[in-house]
Point group: D2
Chain length 305, copies 4
């Protein structure tokens, strides 16, 4: 059932006009370019899809656009990220109404809680909205690591369809994949760490959610297919090339975290002609021309420009 | 100008019915009891006011009710807590429309950023909505500490009217109060740590935002007035008594953080007959009868029951 | 019994020659100046006493010198700080042999452990060496907070004579002081936070261990005596003055943590003529003349120069 | 030059008698078993080699024994782990005197510092003692991550011969390996994460330092050789088997961190007849018979018993 979400599922970067409005045309360019390259799905309103920067109205625009542009060619997973259960369920209902194929939710955040509340959170979302649900493990943002045993239990119980792992904990990821296998593989496990997808495949990942897949979708698709064929040398070589390309995030100076990472993705998409503007959402600084030139230089070295 | 927000400003605990709906009557009981006890203001939709658990519709209910019940007797500060700027500004506009006297915003959270983005965040909120704005320093929830120099700068520039400090950093708090004094006292500085308000007054705080003030507002009012009169022995004795009372939060077992802390406040308000129900918002467990009995025992020892 | 360790007990800064050797004369100047000012005890080989920078031989030099210079005028507490139990006990035996009046030990650090191991650690030290033992609560260095219930239990059992609290958690400190009182005051509780000693006295502290006491011992002695007499206004005014003086630690630029903090103390002691050199231990950079001049400026404003 | 440290270099678990003394015979059993299995080197006095639990005298015993037992068959790397530079250099001199082939040092810990001090720390150790020096990146213990650019710079400058990475950051590890390659491969980079060695090999690691290599050295040797031959399926299958075996660390209950991890290793070595006793150093609890039986069960399932 959950097999439809395997493979390369990039978290789609949101396009804004220079004035900060949603840029449908650029967004469509990016999605079409990725679908043409052979990606297996699209994840909108992820962390790098500026979900937490977007008002509810903006979130609706993004979901509707993605569903319309994807047009059934690949499934659309939608991030329903918000602080606590009641708010998250509201987003889930909207996403379903607008045509999402699956939902992606993090642990609750801001208020301090334990694993019991997290488990109840996922169960309540599942009860409220009948769509495949992915747990998004991203402690760097929500400051809680999802417990491995809980994830398996929720998979076995049919609450979770999968896990998107951005936990930065490759040891725990290995154990999660092994536990999932023993339990009959209830969960589709995707890694969010685009720099070490080869290692995740070694551990048994069912696919990846690479932010860098917005820039070089064909590379991740080639890597996935090589993995399916057991051609590990190609898996590794593609990864080395892609990891080199990831260095675009080191180009911006004097800015950290989101502004540097997603900023570099937007800068690259502008340099590639996919995005009209690399405008960032407030309060994040938009990268300047000099920084975009530096990013373009890395793209040239990688043969993408 | 900002003097109107000095003194005791409890963060108002939100009342729910046993079914999880907003309980206006209980909410009114609590506010009226606090206003009668002489508090100087009310802070609704703070962390303990379940802001992050409340949908936008629920937030509206709470603000409207608070403004209506307060009826101008004391100012109403409203928490506009959300992840990033655009979402926060939406809440700010609603709060103003519904009659808030001041706004309280945290640093952006979830996405990783630096102090430059935080400063821009506060400036944009101030530009968008013309109401006194308090910065809420609560690293345990947002995982960033507000920079002292930035706060003073925003105070001097008229962006911030004050700071609600729940940073847990009493050393930094002392320096903040001293810096504020030197800058001409642009900021009204309130401490959120109800167990050590006496120390905060020693450091020069302009008031407090004690969650425990929902349970014993008269105590915090007596303490504030003693501080105004330089009667430090009374300040200290009230604090020792209140800190003892705070041990209600140690009664719940097998539950942590929000569920134990706000859970104990709700349990106490039920035991006192102020709240009809001690129902907690999902996904947090509601304290049971045994736990409420344990809390009532502490209240009896403190002479409140 | 433990009353002998109440009051002002500065952590003694270690004096080095310009070549990095132990400077007995400067060290004696500093101790004599503090004893003359009326301090109640001396704590050598604390965090600011460069205990973790000192070889075992150097530690011996420092203890011997302190005991000799103090000459029974005030008790000498000795830090026996090291990673795990067996190493700590070796330091404890040396300290006793060289004449220490009490020992100060942190939780074990480097290897990851829980509270059970920490409790056993303190019990084993106490069994091994018959001297009053203080627990040093300093999570910023050892990355574990000492559990309050454990501390009280160890006090009641006669394992611990006291606690030196540098935990930065004033809420927990208040509860610790209250619990200690209820248990019959087995522990002498000293705060290490020199900027908020007034708040700690409000909470019931039995004294302080102020690094800044090396620079202005008379101020902390006046404050302590005012506290003993219930003169809270003087307690507060001295604190405001001392907190201002503490800003010497903000003078150094481009250096953080230990190098800025203890660096500023050494710079001030050189500016005051107490230390011959402000040399820091490797690998920490020694402050330069310009930085010492900046520190001297703060001292002048405070009337100490 | 540094090629001699490539391959499988297990961190040698220290054997104690039931009374807590060093157990030379058991220690020799373990080393001989690993050398016979074909490991490429031995790392004594690492984190799992109880370096921070060992007195200086005990450290000498361990180094001397390891050098004597290895008898030149494989190189012996020695951990010189202590808080700050002067203390670390003393250990370095002892290690050299006793015949170590290389040294392994962490960043300084306990006192708070920045990257400049860390870099100076490594340079001073290298100046003081002429042996190949490895930087040990273990933020979970020392609470600082070693900067990638600094490591490369120290490699190029001839200060560092290599890096033992236990940082838990596989993304940074990938970039480090790439940077090292570009710089002419000055550093020998070893991973300490025994559960994901296959991923580390994908990233370009020069070998591994697996604690679990004490239990199943032959598995890691087979995996290394398969990697050398480009046989990735074998690399992966061995890893899956070894990761299953690692679950011995989940057997102990009610004990965390070191006591569970190294405790399980010692329990397994006792079950295998390699160690006479599974005694742990104080203050860590020694696993009981029931726990050893649980570990033996896992060993049986893995075919090792």
């Amino acid at each position: 059932m959950t097999n439809k979400f395997r493979g390369v599922v990039p978290p789609v970067v949101t396009a804004l006009t220079a004035e900060g409005e949603f840029d449908y045309a650029s967004f469509a360019n990016n999605i079409n370019r990725m679908v043409d390259a052979g990606v297996d799905g699209l994840f909108v309103l992820g962390s790098s899809g500026e979900v937490v920067f977007s008002t509810d109205a903006r979130r609706r625009e993004i979901i509707s656009a993605a569903v319309e542009i994807a047009a059934g060619r690949v499934p659309v997973l939608v991030g329903i990220i918000d602080t606590e259960t009641a708010r998250v369920i509201e987003h889930a209902k909207v996403a379903k109404e607008l045509g999402a194929d699956a939902l992606v939710a993090t642990a609750p955040f801001y208020a301090l809680q334990g694993q019991a509340e997290i488990e109840r959170h996922f169960r309540l979302i599942h009860e409220a909205v009948d769509l495949p649900l992915f747990a998004y493990d991203i402690p760097v943002c929500v400051h809680t690591k999802l417990d491995r045993n809980m994830l398996i239990r929720l998979g076995v119980d049919g609450v979770l369809a999968g896990v998107k792992d951005s936990s930065g904990d490759d040891v725990s990821f290995r154990f999660l994949c092994q536990d999932n296998e023993r339990a009959g593989h209830p969960l589709t496990i995707l890694t969010g760490h685009e720099v070490v997808v080869d290692g995740a495949y070694m551990s048994g990942a069912d696919g990846c959610v690479p932010g860098l897949g917005n820039i070089d979708p064909a590379g991740y698709v080639r890597q996935w297919r090589a993995f399916q064929e057991g051609d590990w040398e190609t898996v590794r070589k593609e990864q080395d090339r892609l990891s080199d390309l990831m260095r675009i995030v080191f180009v911006p100076q004097g800015i950290q975290g989101y502004g540097a990472g997603v900023g570099a993705f937007k800068g690259a998409l502008k340099a590639l002609g996919v995005f009209e503007s690399n405008r960032m959402p407030e309060p994040v600084r938009t990268l300047n021309e000099e920084e975009i030139a530096g990013i373009a230089e890395v793209l040239k070295q990688a043969g993408l420009l």
